[in-house]
C-alpha cells in the first residue's frame, strides 16, 4: 500500500489546492526533479541527450500546449505546428534584430508572438464550432508556412529559408553542448509545466473545461465565452511557440518552415490522445511514447530482426502499429496513458482489495 492517503488530513483549503496533495506525490516529484537535473547529465550520453531526451522534452511541451486548447478548452486544432513555427521564427528574429536581448527573453517574446497569432486564428471560434473549427486551425497551418517560406525576411534572407540557432548563451554560460541543451530545455519545460498545472487548476482552467463541456450553459452562468476561448488559444499558442523555439534552438539547431508541417501537428495531436486529454502528466507520457516507440522499433530491427525485414517495411509496420495503438487507446482507454497510470495508483491505494 504505497499510496496511503490515511493519516494525511487536509485541514485547510490552501493545503488542498497544492499541486501535489499527498506527500508521496510531492516526494516523488522532488526526487524526479533531482534525478533529471543532477543525475541524468552525468549518466546519459550524447545520443540520449540529442536524439531522445531533448526531443522528448520539447514534444512534451508542445503536447502540453495543445492539451490546454483541446483537452481542457475543448477546441480541436490541427494547427499546432504553425504556432511552433511562429514561435521559432519569432524568437530567431528577436534575437537577431535586437542587439543584446537575453536569450531566454527571446523565447518569451517568441511565445508571445505565437500567442498573438493564436488569438488571430482563434477569433472565429466564437462563431464556428466543432469540426468546422478545424478550418481555422488548418488555415493557420498553411498560411503561416506560406508566409515563412514566401518572405525571406523571416529567415534573414537565407537562400534556403533555413534558420540556424545562435550560440546558446544564458547568463554568460554556454549551453551548446548536448548536456547543456538538455538542461536548458529541461528548465524551461519544467517551469512551464508547473505554470500550466497552476492555470488549469485556477478559475481560468475551470472556465476552459466549462466551455469544453457545454458552452451554452457556460454563457448562461456568466462565463465570458470569447475571452475564455481566446485565452485558450493565446496561452496554448504561447506554450507551442516556446516549444517551437526550443525545437529550433536546443534540439535541431536549425529549422526550415517545412519542419513545422501538418505532420508535426498530427504528431502533437497523437501525443495528447495517447497521453491523455485534459492531463498534464499525460503529455509527458504521450511524448515519451511517441519519441521512444519508433526508436525502439528501429533499434530492434537493427539488432534482433537485422536482415529479416527491410527497413522500409519496418517503417510501414511502424505506421500500422502506431495507427493501431491510437485506435486501441481510444477504444480501451480514451483518457490515455495518464488514466492508466491513475488507475494503477488507485489500485495500489486500495490494494489488495478489488474495488
Amino acid at each position: 500500500m504505497l499510496y496511503r492517503e490515511s493519516g494525511q488530513f487536509i485541514s485547510d483549503y490552501r493545503a488542498d489546492r497544492r499541486i501535489f496533495r499527498l506527500w508521496q506525490e510531492r516526494l516523488g516529484f522532488y526526487l524526479l526533479l533531482v534525478f533529471a537535473f543532477a543525475v541524468v547529465p552525468f549518466i546519459a550520453n550524447d545520443y540520449w541527450f540529442s536524439a531522445i531526451l531533448v526531443p522528448f522534452l520539447v514534444l512534451s511541451l508542445a503536447g502540453l500546449g495543445l492539451n490546454l486548447l483541446t483537452g481542457y478548452a475543448g477546441q480541436l486544432s490541427l494547427g499546432s505546428a504553425a504556432f511552433m513555427a511562429v514561435g521559432a521564427f519569432a524568437a530567431y528574429n528577436f534575437h537577431l534584430r535586437i542587439e543584446g536581448l537575453p536569450f531566454l527573453l527571446s523565447f518569451v517574446l517568441g511565445g508571445i508572438t505565437a500567442a498573438g497569432v493564436g488569438i488571430l486564428f482563434g477569433l472565429p471560434s466564437l462563431r464556428i464550432k466543432g469540426f468546422y473549427l478545424l478550418v481555422s486551425t488548418l488555415a493557420a497551418q498553411f498560411f503561416v508556412q506560406w508566409v515563412l517560406t514566401s518572405f525571406g525576411w523571416f529567415s534573414n534572407n537565407n537562400s534556403s529559408g533555413v534558420i540556424t540557432a545562435p550560440p546558446l548563451l544564458v547568463f554568460g554560460r554556454d549551453f551548446s553542448s548536448p548536456a547543456g541543451r538538455y538542461l536548458l530545455t529541461l528548465a524551461v519545460v519544467v517551469a512551464l509545466a508547473l505554470l500550466a498545472r497552476n492555470i488549469v487548476r485556477s478559475e481560468l482552467g475551470r472556465h476552459w473545461m466549462a466551455v469544453r463541456d457545454m458552452d451554452t450553459a457556460a454563457a448562461v452562468i456568466g462565463i465570458p465565452i470569447l475571452k475564455t476561448k481566446l485565452l485558450a488559444f493565446a496561452i496554448s499558442s504561447f506554450f507551442l511557440g516556446v516549444a517551437g523555439a526550443l525545437w529550433a534552438f536546443t534540439y535541431l539547431g536549425t529549422v526550415e518552415p517545412h519542419g513545422f508541417d501538418l505532420t508535426r501537428s498530427f504528431q502533437i495531436l497523437f501525443i495528447i490522445i495517447i497521453g491523455g486529454m485534459g492531463s498534464i502528466l499525460g503529455n509527458f507520457l504521450g511524448a515519451a511514447f511517441i519519441v521512444l516507440l519508433p526508436i525502439l522499433l528501429s533499434n530492434l530491427s537493427g539488432t534482433v530482426l537485422a536482415g529479416l525485414i527491410d527497413p522500409g517495411q519496418l517503417e510501414n509496420l511502424q505506421k500500422i502499429i502506431f495507427g493501431g495503438l491510437i485506435v486501441f487507446f481510444l477504444i480501451k482507454e480514451p483518457f490515455g496513458l495518464a488514466r492508466l497510470w491513475q488507475n494503477f495508483r488507485e489500485r495500489s491505494r486500495v490494494w489488495p482489495l478489488r474495488y
Binding site: 468546422y132 478545424l134 522500409g312 502506431f322 480514451p334
Partner: protein
Amino acid sequence: MEFFFEVLLGGLLAGVMYSLVAIGFVLIYKASGVFNFAQGSMVLFAALTFVSLLERGIPFWLTFAITLLTMVVLAWAIERFMLRKLVNRPPITLFMATLGLSYMIEGLAQAVWGAQVHGLELGISDEPLELGGMLLSQFDIFAAGVAGVLVIFLSWLFNKTRTGISLRAVADDQLAALAVGIKLQRIWLIVWAVAGFVGLVAGLLWGARLGVQFSLSLVVLKALPVLIIGGFTSIGGAIVGGLIIGASEKLAEVFIGPIIGGGIENWFPYVLALVFLLVRPAGIFGERAIERV
C-alpha cells in the same frame, strides 16, 4: 477576358475533382456522424491496389471488381475492429480514431504494394479541347460527369430510402438508434463500403491525374475546405463547395498570387472557407447543430 473565363472554367472543373473526394466524407459524416479523416488514405489504398493489379496484367473490369471487393473487406474490417468498439462515443473520439486508421491504411498500402510511383492510364484522352479559343480538359469534363452521377445516386440513397433515414438517425444519436433496433453494424458496413467505392472512383481519377503514389492521400487537404463550405451533411453541398473552391482558388492564384507572392493555393481555400463560415457557421447547406436548453 477570354483568359479570365478560361481560368474560371478550368477552376470549376478542377473543383469537381475536389468534390469527388469530399463526397466520401459527407457520406460517412451524414450517415454516422463520423468525420472520417482516413478518406484520403482510402483513396490512396484503392488506387494503389487497382494499379498494382492492373500492372500484373489483370483485365480492367476484373481489376475494378477485385479492388471494389477489397474495399468492402476493408470496410468490414473497419467496422468489425474499430467502429463496433467505439459505439456511442463522442464525435471527437471517432475523428481521432480515423486519424489512427489513416496511418494504418497508409502503412498497409505501402507495405503490400510498395512505395513506387505508378502511372495510370484510364484510356481517357487528355488532349485539350478547343472551345472558342479556350482550352478545356476532356479528362476533367469526364470527371465532372462521373461526379454528377455519383451525386444523383447518393442523394437518392439518402432521401428516398428507409436506409437513408436510419443513417441520419445513427448520425444523431447512436444509443437511441440502437434502442430502436437499427443495425448499426450493418449500416456502418454499408456506408463505409460505399465510401470505399467513392474512394476508388476518386482514386482512379486522381491517380490518372497525379500518378498513383503516396501523395494521393494528401488530396483530403483539398477536400476539407470544399466540405466545409458545402456543409458536412450535404452531398449537393460537396459539389457546390467544390465549384466555389476550384474557381476561386484558381482565380486567386492567377490574379492575386503574383501580387502577394504566389503559391497561395494551399491556404486560400481555407481562408475562403473561414469567411463563408463566419456568415454561415454550418456551411451553405449544412445542418445547424441543435442546441436547446
